[in-house]
């Protein structure tokens, strides 16, 4: 087991070769461009939704045959259909034309002439109530008909309360709503929306780590198997030590993977930053996108856990990659690792719903799962600094062990050729290899 002291510069040369080979390949270039474009496009989906929302326009004519309808019924209907008035004024999806009883024939003619989409006739239903008659060519279970219908409920309720003697001020008064947590402690007013955005963010970051390990870890295994398959490995064996090769492959492939990742993330961040201007240009108003919950602490924890997690898993990928003779066999050889990765991923997804459960806390220290689970806990903000520190130390320790074991398996594995290599064979060979 020599070569610990002489890791560089050979590991660096190997890394540079791996990086270049990877980055020059057509699949890498095309993959990066396509993924970056898709990511950028994905960030503009909210704009698209807003565009489709904002360009829809339903013209509603309301003919009131009720003489004592309260004067603010139009404003009530408007706020029900278009939401509370905004500053600056936003696009309104519904335009309402309120007309007295005598306007009915003209309104009917305009409906025929498609000047209006919906005609609503409000009439008396007994002394204390109103009823509505709607005429439209819009689909009866369509969104605009549904929305107008529910808005009309409010109008009816207001009229009933008014007739029952409640003052308009009382009807319109905003009720007091207080929110407290279960055990009575004060709780921030915005809790729900923050929690939703935090859990979305945690899920997003966990998926990022998961994708990187699965995609780029396989690259490491592939590159080992490729060298073995082309037999250039035998030339390499005399030129380098297994440890130098192992380190170089991880650096090179990891670097290429992170480069691709970085470009995609840049596209995402650029897309998010461009969202505002694009939104303004297309829709005319600002978008409501926010980076909720992404604090520097969470970002820092993400980077640390990402790098350590990737290192640990790619070491194992390299070791497993050295056991097969052909690239075609990489998939099956690395499937046990895939199970481990998936287990961590699903645990963390489940753990997000139960972030304070004991099993989540315990699992967040276990090296193979900590990259996911500790990250979930950090982004939920339920972690003591020493807990994070402990998880990192345990990860580092397991990387050291994995490096030792992987280098052994690797130096034995690269010399073994055959259809299937059993674990027993490898362990036997690893014991006697240098």
């Amino acid at each position: 087991m020599r070569g610990w002291r002489t890791l560089f510069p050979n590991a660096w040369y190997v890394a540079v070769r791996e990086f270049r080979g990877r980055a020059r390949s057509r699949s890498f270039v095309i993959g990066t461009v396509v993924l970056a474009l898709i990511s950028f496009a994905a960030t503009q989906i909210p704009v698209l939704i807003d565009v489709s929302m904002n360009t829809s326009l339903t013209r509603v004519a309301v003919v009131s045959q009720v003489p004592d309808m309260p004067g603010d019924a139009l404003a009530l209907l408007d706020s029900q259909l278009n939401g509370q008035p905004k500053d600056p004024p936003a696009h309104k999806n519904y335009v309402i034309s309120w007309q007295p009883d005598g306007g009915l024939p003209a309104a009917q003619a305009d409906l025929q002439a498609k000047q209006y989409d919906i005609l609503v006739v409000v009439s008396q239903d007994g002394p204390q109530d109103v009823q509505f008659a709607m005429r439209t060519d819009s689909p009866q279970d369509g969104r605009s008909v549904q929305t107008v219908t529910s808005a009309l409920y409010s109008v009816a309720i207001e009229y009933r309360l008014y007739k029952a003697g409640t003052s308009i001020e009382n009807i319109q008064k905003v009720p007091t709503v207080t929110v407290a947590s279960v055990n009575g402690a004060a709780s921030s007013t915005n809790d729900l929306s923050t929690e939703v955005s935090t859990s979305l963010l945690s899920t997003g970051l966990i998926v990022l780590i998961f994708m990187a390990i699965v995609t780029y870890g396989v690259w490491v295994a592939m590159s080992v198997a490729e060298e073995k398959g082309s037999r250039v490995m035998e030339l390499m064996l005399n030129a380098t030590t297994p440890l130098q090769m192992l380190a170089g492959k991880m650096l090179g492939n990891g670097g290429a993977g992170l480069t691709q990742y970085g470009i995609i993330l840049l596209a995402v961040v650029g897309g998010l930053l461009a969202q505002g201007p694009i939104h303004r240009a297309v829709v005319g108003t600002d978008s409501a996108t926010q980076f909720g919950g992404l604090s520097p602490a969470v970002l820092g924890a993400f980077v640390v856990l990402f790098v350590l997690g990737f290192t640990l898993y790619s070491l194992l990928y390299a070791a497993l990659g050295s056991l097969v003779s052909r690239q075609e066999d990489v998939q099956s050889a690395t499937s046990p690792l895939m199970v481990l990765i998936m287990a961590g991923y699903f645990m963390s997804v489940a753990g997000l719903q139960a972030i304070d459960e004991t099993w989540v806390r315990v699992a967040s220290f276990v090296p193979f799962f900590s990259p996911y689970l500790m990250l979930a806990r950090v982004s939920a903000g339920h972690v003591e600094p020493w807990e994070f520190g402990l998880a990192v130390v345990l990860l580092l320790a397991s990387i050291a062990v994995a490096l030792f074991v992987a280098a052994r398996i690797y130096s034995a594995g690269v010399l073994l050729y055959g259809q299937r290599v059993s674990l027993r064979q490898v362990l036997k060979a690893a014991r006697v290899s240098r």
């Binding site: 040369y13 082309s230 290599v421 006697v432």
Partner: protein
């Protein structure tokens, strides 16, 4: 000041790949490893290179254990040939040289010089996958020597080469020998060994069955060969009746016979003359390496001759 392979044993599972091998190879010598497939040649080379560790025994070069020597002491041309398919010839040779600590500039100069010597200077910028097998083999040879190693180990370097390329490679051998390098290679081709090697070892099932200088090995049997041709008698039936003489090959040019130890080869000539025959050709020689090989190992065939399952062979 020599390469000492001292009492090396190596076991793969149930198979004794090398069984107490001891050899001494002098610096500047061309040394041939002979043996059927699976005899242990590749394993022996890998142990010398410290790619594999032996179960017991040591390798010493110039008084130093191989585990303590820098890797650039050795140049290795593996039997299984492979290059980085997508890299250009120059690029990968510079890469291999850099791994051995050679400066890129010097590596490029050396590469171009060798490509010139192999008469393929225009291939420097081609990708390896665009080259023919023979040309790839030349590139691998350059990869093995680009860092100017003291000892060059080559596993079946002549396999798969056409006569023209084989001649080029032999020239390269001589060039390396002239530079004072020690050359060790394994082969099946006995003519190549007799042409190039000063010393040999014949391996069979992990043991050295005979070793030493080519001359010593050829004399080791104590037998002599005679080649006789007489006018008007290609049959020479009388040869077989002589005491201690056995006909080994009949040909148009001459008939070859083996004279057992303690018998005088000259008696064959006397016998011919006493029969009044006109002798056109008479030659006394040592048995050829091929004969010695067959005697010790059996047929020279390319079929597998190993006790090891394929996967464990290394």
């Amino acid at each position: 000041m020599s390469l000492l392979i001292d009492s090396i044993s190596k076991r793969f599972g149930d198979v004794q790949a090398l069984d107490d091998i001891t050899l001494q190879i002098e610096p500047g010598e061309v040394f041939g490893f002979l043996g059927a497939n699976g005899a242990g040649k590749t394993t022996a080379m890998r142990i010398v290179l410290d790619i594999l560790r032996p179960d017991s025994g040591t390798i010493v070069w110039n008084g130093k254990l191989n585990t303590e020597l820098p890797r650039d002491t050795w140049g290795y041309l593996p039997e299984e040939r492979g290059l980085y398919a997508k890299m250009s010839v120059l690029e990968q040779l510079v890469f291999f040289a850099k791994l051995h600590g050679v400066k890129p500039k010097a590596a490029e100069r050396e590469t171009r010089e060798w490509l010139e010597r192999f008469r393929i200077p225009e291939y420097a910028d081609r990708r390896a996958e665009q080259l023919s097998k023979g040309n790839q083999q030349k590139i691998q040879f350059i990869a093995a020597i680009i860092h100017d190693p003291q000892v060059l180990l080559m596993d079946e370097p002549f396999t798969g080469l056409d006569p023209v390329n084989a001649a080029l490679l032999k020239e390269a051998f001589l060039e390396m020998k002239n530079r004072g390098k020690t050359l060790i290679f394994s082969t099946h081709q006995m003519e190549t060994v007799e042409e190039l090697c000063e010393s040999i070892a014949i391996l069979d099932r992990g043991r050295v069955v005979v070793g030493g200088s080519v001359r010593e090995v050829r004399r080791s049997t104590g037998r002599q060969m005679v080649r006789v041709a007489v006018q008007g008698d290609t049959e020479m039936a009388w040869l077989g009746t002589l005491d201690g003489v056995r006909v080994t090959r009949r040909g148009q040019d001459y008939t070859e016979a083996e004279v057992a130890q303690g018998h005088d080869p000259g008696s064959v000539l006397k016998a011919a003359l006493s029969r009044g025959l006109e002798v056109r050709h008479f030659e006394m020689t040592d048995p050829s390496l091929e004969q010695i090989f067959i005697e010790h190992v059996g047929q020279i065939d390319t079929s597998e001759r190993t006790l090891a399952p394929k996967a464990a062979r290394a």
